[in-house]
């Protein structure tokens, strides 16, 4: 496994081959640093809201009517340059502006840029080889002061790691719930196949 450097990242981005790194739009070449690429805060947001139900239940008990996870969130859109306020202790789903396409032998680690980490915002995620889509960001303000964020600002960064063996992200039998998304998608935890199995186990014990 090797970490891609600036020259290697540019070489792959400029390669028109289908098995290359692809980021669109890359508004400024300066986004590419020595071992990472800065990525911009996207314009679609899905914001958590409080409801009358006490909890989000991915797999409610038999006698409880299911409430879809989507109903605990609200959509809103912005243009680049507009503001978005991230309130303390609120989950906000968004994405990067950039659409990312990863080759089958490169994965990406996404982390918050230190300037935003110092404001109390946390983001950590991994994009698997073969990923297509804008990068989902689950923003959370760990501080106690709302933060006004500028849509389109560079808030996080991606490091790219080349692995020895290629993987098949959308191969036969693979279940990819978020493949090709260009806006935040709420959790599909309720689609996990094992939940009925675990529920049966819970009833027996």
């Amino acid at each position: 496994m090797r970490l891609l450097t600036r020259d290697q990242i540019f070489a792959s981005l400029n390669n028109k081959d289908s098995e290359s790194l692809y980021l669109d739009p890359l508004l400024n070449d300066n986004q590419v640093g020595s071992i990472s690429v800065d990525l911009r805060l996207g314009y679609d947001f899905t914001v958590s809201i409080l409801t009358r139900r006490a909890a989000i239940e991915p797999y409610p008990a038999d006698n409880v009517k299911k409430r879809g996870i989507q109903s605990y969130f609200q959509e809103t859109r912005r243009r680049l340059g507009e503001r978005f306020i991230l309130y303390p202790h609120q989950v906000v789903l968004t994405t990067t502006v950039e659409f990312l396409s990863l080759p089958r032998n490169i994965y990406a680690d996404i982390s918050i840029r230190s300037s935003y980490g110092r404001l109390g915002i946390g983001v950590t995620t991994t994009m698997q080889p073969g990923w297509r889509g804008t990068i989902p960001l689950e923003l959370f303000n760990h501080g106690n002061t709302p933060i006004e964020m500028v849509v389109g600002s560079c808030v996080c960064q991606a490091s790219f790691y080349e692995i020895e063996q290629s993987t098949d992200y959308v191969g036969e039998g693979a279940v990819r719930k978020y493949f090709g998304t260009v806006r935040p998608a709420v959790s599909k935890a309720d689609h996990d196949d094992e939940l009925p199995h675990l529920a049966r186990m819970g009833q027996i014990s």
Binding site: Y22, D24, P25, F99, T134, V170, F179, G180, V182
Partner: protein
């Protein structure tokens, strides 16, 4: 009592909208003008004796109420900016100054695109002395299509109605070639027979011809911009609609659109080309360039659009790609369900247009 209550409630709603920091400055000013209208109306009604006719107040209140519906859609920030962008670019072809678009997301299978009747604003100015400087264009589309640009192509048909109304194209066509002269329209009484009618029957058939011509013209504008995307969508949306007083049959509409795309001579198309020429517009031709997306969409990546013609062309190219992948999925799409193929194709279309908007905005503001 109810009228004054309505005015207070509407004013409160506009006050709320005015405090929303999401609008453009143009929309903000437009909202303030509407607030001034309601405040003035309320003040005149509350004076003793009232200084305004209740019927007139009623009519203005209802008119403003309708306008607010589209403003609330714009605040909800669920606007399909990408489709609105494409429409704004199309409007440039018709000499329209920058449109002030307000959008409503509606829970019905319908699309709207129309400008506010200027007479309503003139009426307000005459009666209340308040001038509304802006003339917004109202767009509405189904809620379930807000992220489905390929399913929003009927907005281009509605845009065609807007072009017609703003420039009097059908009116000119009627002056050039009246209902009694032709050309004959499919499923409508022949012009030679209309010529023999009089009274109410003549009025009825005259109005049918006018309505049908309006629909045909809007259809032609839509295929001029989005080509087979429009035809393909309508073939699934209204596959077999019968003729009515307001609309030609689906079959007749599809034939006209096909003739236009194939370049087949058709007297109805010629009629509108003459009318456009009278108005100083060039003939209606394909305004779009298809985009070669098979490879890049095939690799599940958005495409780069280098011109407005490409933006319009993406609707046709995207529609064909979607049909092709649903019928015969291949490559990365092979293991995807039909629902996923539809979602991802619409998403790639939306993202391709959005990326162009972002790049344009970035370049335009690079040097302050």
């Amino acid at each position: 009592m109810l009228l004054k209550s309505n005015l207070r409630l509407l004013l409160a709603q506009l006050d709320g909208l005015a405090e929303t920091p999401y609008f453009s400055s143009d929309l903000d000013q437009y909202i303030n003008e509407l607030r001034a209208v309601l405040a003035e109306l309320l003040s005149r009604l509350e004076s003793c004796p009232p200084r305004v006719d209740p019927d007139l107040s009623q009519s203005i209140a209802h008119g403003v109420w309708r306008l607010i519906q589209f403003l609330t859609g714009s605040t909800a920030k669920q606007i399909p900016y990408e489709v609105v962008y494409a429409i704004e670019r199309a409007a440039n072809d018709w000499g329209t100054s920058k449109l002030l678009i307000t959008t409503a997301i509606i829970q019905e299978a319908n699309f709207y695109f129309h400008s506010i009747d200027r007479d309503f604003f003139n009426f307000i100015e005459r009666e209340l002395g308040i001038k509304i400087n802006y003339q917004p264009v109202q767009i509405a589309l189904p809620y379930i299509y807000r992220h489905k640009p390929l399913f929003c192509v009927p907005l281009f048909h509605e845009f065609g109605h807007f072009v017609d109304t703003a420039n009097g194209i059908v009116i000119i066509s009627l002056l050039n070639s009246s209902e009694a002269v032709g050309p004959d329209l499919p499923d409508v009484k022949p012009s030679s027979e209309i010529a023999k009618l009089s009274g109410q029957e003549r009025e009825y058939w005259d109005s049918v011809v006018m309505m049908h011509r309006k629909e045909y013209f809007a259809d032609l504008v839509s295929v001029a911009y989005v080509g087979e995307a429009m035809l393909g969508f309508l073939k699934e949306f209204i596959p077999n609609d019968k003729v009515s007083a307001s609309h030609p049959s689906s079959v007749a509409r599809f034939k006209l659109m096909t003739d236009f795309m194939d370049g087949t001579n058709n007297p109805i198309i010629n009629l509108f080309q003459d009318a456009l020429s009278h108005r100083g517009f060039p003939p209606l031709t394909r305004r779009f360039q298809p985009v070669a997306i098979d490879e890049i969409f095939g690799n599940v990546r958005p495409c780069q659009l280098n011109s407005d013609e490409n933006v319009f062309g993406l609707f046709e190219s995207g529609w064909k790609f979607l049909q092709g992948m649903v019928d015969n999925p291949s490559g990365l799409w092979k293991t995807l369900s039909e629902a996923e193929i539809e979602r991802i194709t619409n998403d790639l279309t939306e993202k391709s247009i959005r990326n162009r908007m972002i790049m344009e905005g970035w370049r335009a503001t690079a040097n302050p």
